[in-house]
């Protein structure tokens, strides 16, 4: 009875561990902004915890650096089994503008599997809240891949007024002037 009640009450309360593997603190400040009364993420049951062993969700900021890769992987392995990873910011999601530097391994998905990406540099607090709402199933995602393909040539390739017919063949007049 108590167990069912607990499962019902805590089914959507995510305990969050906040890991920065070498970011610039911009995304950290936005995450802290989400926890303030103005954006109040605690109404969704989200709580910041100090240890990965207590956490359900890891919020990762910053690219994976050479010294922090091992630490990030250990922190991920220390989390109990149903676990989510949020990559917040363009550094965590794709490496940022430092993606190919000598000490940067790249995005965090090279070390740990990532479940949700929240792009932005830094993302707005609303964007982080939107990511949380997508993860907990309250809202649907709004972006989709864009594919565009030109099917016909946009400009005429040769000037058609320079084409003339000669002995059953089409001759391009400008060629002779070269």
């Amino acid at each position: 009875m108590l167990k069912e009640l607990c499962q019902k009450m805590f089914s959507r309360s995510l305990w969050v561990y906040h890991a920065n593997s070498g970011g610039c603190n911009g995304c950290d400040i936005e995450v802290l902004n989400v926890l303030t009364p103005f954006y109040d993420a605690e109404r969704f049951g989200i709580k910041l915890v100090g240890s990965p062993r207590h956490a359900d969700v890891m919020l990762c900021q910053g690219p994976v650096l050479r010294p922090t890769a091992q630490a990030l992987k250990r922190a991920y392995e220390a989390m109990p089994a149903p676990k989510l990873v949020f990559a917040i910011g363009s550094c965590a999601g794709g490496g940022g503008i430092w993606y190919d530097m000598y000490n940067v391994l790249g995005p965090i998905e090279k070390v740990i599997p990532v479940n949700f990406y929240i792009p932005g540099c830094p993302p707005r607090p609303e964007a982080i809240l939107f990511g949380i709402a997508v993860a907990t199933g309250r809202l649907d995602k709004k972006v989709a891949p864009v594919q565009f393909k030109q099917v016909e040539f946009p400009v005429p390739r040769y000037h058609p007024e320079d084409l003339r017919e000669e002995d059953g063949m089409v001759v391009y007049e400008k060629l002779e002037k070269v």
Binding site: S90, G93, L105, Y117, V143, K174
Partner: protein, 175 residues
Amino acid sequence: MSFLSKIREVMICLGAGQVTLPYPVAAAEPVPERFRGRPLFNAAQCIGCAGCANNCPAREILVFDVCQEVRIMKYLGRRCTYCGRCADLCPEKAITMSREFETATQTIPDLQQNLELFMSTCQRCGRCFTEPGPLEQLMLKGYRFDALAEERWVYRSQAHLQNEPLVRDIDIELD
């Protein structure tokens, strides 16, 4: 004394009213006037000059020339810092910085924009242009074959890379 202060605190809290935004339920507050969100590519106006790709600080607009007349421009979106340089540079104003920030997804390809463009050739000789000197050729204006799968620029010529990988990462022991 402390009881009175508690009562005063309660009065202050009640007087403050509600400050929390109802965001994920209601619509978001309008973003500031100069907020830069996700860049949107207008493929009908793009001429494929690759100026945005050359000037992107995150090197995340990739250019791949399939053949002489078809060029693929791929905006990855994953490491974009929304600096707006591409929109500033674009000679045709084909890139606009939208105010879109609700871009959280489960998969990275949702953020990508892929344009497949026809390129014009020289109307005299039918070939594309090559830059006159070696310094101009370094500015990556000619044919480009970026690694679309690895999502990286390829800085080197592909002529001598039969057995080597095009791009390489640093090796770190994780355990």
